[in-house]
Symmetry: C2
Subunit: 373 residues, 2 copies
Amino acid sequence: KPKLSFIDIVSSLKDRTSKCDMRKIIHSVKVGLALVLVSLLYLLDPLFQKVGQNAMWAIMTVVVVFEFYAGATLSKGINRAIGTVLGGGLGCMAAILADKSGEIGGALVVGISVIVIGAGATYSRMIPSVKKRYDYGVMIFILTFNLVVVSGVRADKIMKLAGERLSTIGMGFAVCIFTSFIYPIWASDELHSSTASKFDKLASSIQGCLEEYFKIADDKEKQPTIDVSGCKSVLHSKSSDESLSNFAKWEPWHGKFGFFYPWEKYLQIGEVLRELAASVLSFKGCVQSVRQPSTTQRDSIKELCETIGLSIAWILKEVGESIRDMKICRTKVLISPRTQCMIQELSLLVKTLENSTENLGLASFIFHLLELV
Amino acid sequence: KPKLSFIDIVSSLKDRTSKCDMRKIIHSVKVGLALVLVSLLYLLDPLFQKVGQNAMWAIMTVVVVFEFYAGATLSKGINRAIGTVLGGGLGCMAAILADKSGEIGGALVVGISVIVIGAGATYSRMIPSVKKRYDYGVMIFILTFNLVVVSGVRADKIMKLAGERLSTIGMGFAVCIFTSFIYPIWASDELHSSTASKFDKLASSIQGCLEEYFKIADDKEKQPTIDVSGCKSVLHSKSSDESLSNFAKWEPWHGKFGFFYPWEKYLQIGEVLRELAASVLSFKGCVQSVRQPSTTQRDSIKELCETIGLSIAWILKEVGESIRDMKICRTKVLISPRTQCMIQELSLLVKTLENSTENLGLASFIFHLLELV
């Protein structure tokens, strides 16, 4: 039997990596394709005569802006465009001002504007709300402003230059968007499925803990090893969740999701799941504790605890399933009273396993949240 | 008395923000300064005659590479340099090959090499170990390769061009390093002090929990509100810790830290502290549970629990202090037996507060870790 489960694990792992790899390969090929498309600006003579050396900027845009998720590409591209326009505009103004101020005055104007704008924009990059959404845009703003204002001292036709660069950046962006929307990889899909799979991970962690707790009866010397990697990955998912929902907001209507889809709620669910993961972790600590009672005492509560553990796991899986399929979860109505009943049964027992009820308390917290979905 | 503590909090908050703000302001000014320095390449005639339009690359390097932490700047700069050299070299080779293959053959060589190298490098960017350390370098590699190979079709003097660009990037990098090392902001300092302050945060969370638990005696209707934001920030510190230690490894000898300082151990301590934070969070859930016994029962264990809670908090603070000052923590020897004694006392009590011992179990886990430091 253990061999079978091992094969199962390997095959499921292979399945997952191959699915993940397919997406990575698709993304890589798409990047290659976008690069070739944008290189055509150089390679085809009629196009090159129009854009000239500025085609470089289109290539740069593709390399820098093309991201794994479609939403990330969109957000970076729009940030870049806005940053370029603002920086270019302000740079032009400063360059014209410098032009009118004579030789030494002009150099002074350039120097002061560079240091003031550079320091100010850099400071704004460190404000959390700006950093979260517009970090890249502000960086491009600083870059464009500097390039324009400094080269303005040399070239007289800044306006034309700025316009040309903007149009090539636009071309690069268009290529990105075009390629990005062939077999798109949506951040919103990823957020959706990762939220659903978190339920499964927690469910299997809880099951693992309970199994281990009642298994030690057989061989006592062996320190129980519980696999909580799934649980820990849930615990550390905050930052990736946040960036995914950030990208998801940029993504247009597609698949099952409309505009103004409630991405905030995914973050809330994630928060609750992280709390549950924390309590599962400390439950594991409790199971592994040296101060646990003897085997006979354990056996007396074995049946009830296993029933409860299994049903918690089942509830979690059910809820995850319903989120995955975007159905309203009927289980809530069915299960809440059942859980209540089990909690009461357990309370009647000696309070040796207080921690198990603690878990239940959090599971019922989950149900409250489900009303949101 | 509550007013006094409120003022304390405000003033400590102000203290911290102002210290943090000072660092941000210093960083902003430094960026501005670096930009002005690099702009001199344009503004001063003798310099401009040497580097020409390539001065643009120096500006770009400064804007993109200059990061908040000195280690981050170094790592990005070195990544950029290596990426440029490799990409430029490979690009030159491909361009020469394309040059020798006639008109149509050349275009084919360029197209195929762009798509193969682009896709391959993009795929390698998604391998976790590469992503963690060399993400930026690989991006620059793709960019440089594309620019060189594509413009190779037009300009005949690629080698010279590539060399010039590289030297201007080097200049930009030198300016970054130079400015970055005036009043440097070390990632290693930040990692060190944040690790130390985590102990304080956890200590105050535990104290808060215990206080609330025995305070409800007075007014029962009010749902106890426990401030666990510090605890949660510890829980979510994994990614920021990892990037800090990643940067810290790049930083040269400075202050109290030598080369090959054991940054890995900070990550291990962080991991254990996160586990402790998880158990504090579920301890809080247990304190707020509706299934807690009545006030009279609570009072019977009040004294002992408060002693234990206080001493856990004191131990944590002591350990944090000793890490901050980089002294060997003597408290371990002093306190371990004392805690053992307390645990035994508590075990004698009725097991109503099983959870409290759970906390102790984890606290003793901390002590094991201290042997590492």
